[in-house]
């Protein structure tokens, strides 16, 4: 026994080591759970085909040409950025509750922020794969090239990611507080935001009573900005600025919320729900 090499405990590299371990854990899950590919590949492809075909049909009916197709495909593609960011984070956490691994994790030196970073890191890899698939389908089937949006894609995607992660944190906070009953919100919360934030249409197309809600959502301004770029009007920096400021406020509120819910989780002993 004494001849066995002694394990080395690192200290300075530990946060990165732990982040990588969390990311790898979720890579194993994706590798061995075929149903998880639905979120990553199947739904994005279904959406691209569905909205691309709707766009083609209405464009032919109304005679507006390819613009309608571009709006719908850009909308669904960008929506999948925020969707993947959110779902990766929320379902990553839910995986720990489903496999009753939460207590195992909570007794390790892993910090909450490191856990989130690890899930986000792997989520980015899934997102890159998913967006590549949707872009390829949109280009191959409908001749829509997402790169037509140009460099404006970079800030738009960055803000979409922040919004997605913020909504993911809110879902995690709700699961910590009310348990697995809140899991449906991992998919449902963004589905509720989808019509309100005008991903396919300007917010003026919403019923009047819903328009004020749409206008305060950062996503609304972001999709407006994307449509403006597609229209060839250039990037509306004011819309982008509002979206960026809104996403930062949302991210701060989400971080505050999840920290509060974690404190409640620890204080009320809700770990017993997951043992």
């Amino acid at each position: 026994m004494s001849t066995t090499p002694v394990p080395v405990t690192t200290t300075t590299a530990s946060p990165w080591l732990r982040i990588r371990a969390v990311a790898r854990r979720h890579a194993y899950v994706l590798q061995r759970a075929p149903q998880r590919w639905f979120d990553v590949v199947v739904w994005p492809v279904v959406d691209a085909v569905l909205f691309g075909a709707i766009g083609v049909y209405f464009s032919r009916q109304s005679g507006v040409g390819d613009r309608g197709v571009g709006f719908l495909l850009a909308g669904i593609l960008l929506f999948h950025v925020v969707f993947q960011a959110e779902v990766s984070l929320a379902t990553g956490f839910m995986e720990e509750t489903w496999s009753r691994n939460l207590l195992n994790l909570l007794v390790t030196p892993l910090r909450e922020v490191e856990y989130v970073a690890g899930v986000v890191l792997f989520g980015l890899a899934k997102l890159a794969f998913s967006i590549t698939v949707v872009s390829t389908v949109a280009f191959g089937l409908f001749a829509f090239n997402v790169s037509d949006i140009g460099l404006a894609l970079i800030p738009i995607i960055a803000i979409l990611l922040v919004v997605g992660w913020a909504v993911g944190l809110i879902v995690i906070g709700l699961i910590l507080r009310v348990g697995q009953g809140a899991e449906i919100l991992a998919w449902g919360l963004l589905a509720m935001l989808m019509p309100l934030s005008g991903i396919f249409y300007p917010v003026s197309a919403l019923p009047g009573i819903l328009q004020p809600i749409g206008k305060v959502l950062p996503l609304t301004h972001l999709f407006d900005a994307a449509r403006s770029v597609l229209d060839g009007d250039g990037l509306p920096w004011d819309e982008l600025g509002i979206a960026a400021a809104g996403s930062v406020v949302l991210a701060i509120a989400a971080a505050w919320f999840v920290v509060r819910m974690l404190a409640t989780f620890r204080s009320r002993g809700y770990i017993s729900r997951h043992m």
Binding site: P5, T10, L17, R18, R20, Y28, R32, L106, P109
Partner: protein, 247 residues
């Protein structure tokens, strides 16, 4: 009692869940290398106490210090000195045993966890399970792997909640043998809960009985039994359980 420096020091722990007083002013220390059993009837507050010591549940009052690190502020640093396993904890699905152990080795700060994984699997006689999927294991094998996970990083304190519950006697013996070897080789302190009093007498040099969230006895097994006028720990346990039912 051990005169070595304390690895765990808890003072005045209080926890109330709505109308239930789970823990009521509990003090507990565990010295370096000391083997302590936390005992008591169902609902005495053992698991709540362990969860507070591990920083998973926040106490309403009181303090916890592990190797000089105070909870909750320095939970991560404290956790690096502690290992935890419980008989009721499953292994995560979709992971092979070796993958699970390597991942947790990294979470505990091992830059190269492979040697520690091999050492741990050999120590508990389960090296053949390295490639098995977590959900293919029997409950006994799961318990052994859970203990390997908890000990890979050579913790100063190993906390075990019902480690041998529902295990066959031969597997329970392997757990005890492995733990005894670990404690002897590495000087690891042990804090264990169990309903098996014979096992406790074999493994632990000190027992702490709690009832209704309070410490009612603390000392060597024979001393505690004598204090309650019983022949052994089983008698003390039954006495406390009857007292609780009568209350």
């Amino acid at each position: 009692m051990s005169s070595a420096p304390d690895v765990l020091r808890a003072r005045g722990l209080v926890k109330k869940y709505k109308r239930i007083q789970a823990v009521d002013g509990l003090d507990l220390t565990v010295g370096a290398g000391e083997r302590v059993a936390l005992l008591g009837p169902n609902g005495a507050g053992k698991t709540t106490t362990l969860l507070m010591l591990l920083g998973v549940v926040s106490p309403d009052a009181g303090s916890v210090e592990i190797k000089g690190h105070h909870l909750p502020r320095h939970r991560s640093e404290a956790a690096a000195h502690v290992g935890f396993a419980a008989g009721y904890l499953p292994l995560p699905e979709r992971l092979r045993v070796g993958e699970f152990l390597r991942l947790f080795g990294q979470l505990y700060g091992l830059s190269d966890p492979k040697p520690a994984v091999e050492l741990g699997l050999n120590r508990f006689g389960v090296a053949h399970l390295a490639d098995a999927m977590g959900n293919e294991l029997s409950s006994g094998q799961r318990t052994l792997i859970g203990i390997v996970k908890a000990t890979m990083h050579r913790p100063s304190l190993l906390v075990l909640d019902e480690p041998t519950a529902s295990l066959d006697p031969d597997v329970a013996l392997r757990v005890r043998t492995g733990l005894n070897r670990l404690c002897a080789d590495e000087g690891t302190a042990l804090l264990v809960t169990s309903h098996n009093m014979i096992e406790v007498e074999r493994m632990c040099e000190r027992v702490v009985f709690i009832s209704s969230g309070r410490v009612v006895a603390d000392g060597r097994p024979a001393e505690v039994a004598a204090r309650f006028g019983r022949d052994d720990l089983e008698g003390v346990f039954l006495h406390l359980a009857e007292e609780r039912e009568g209350a």
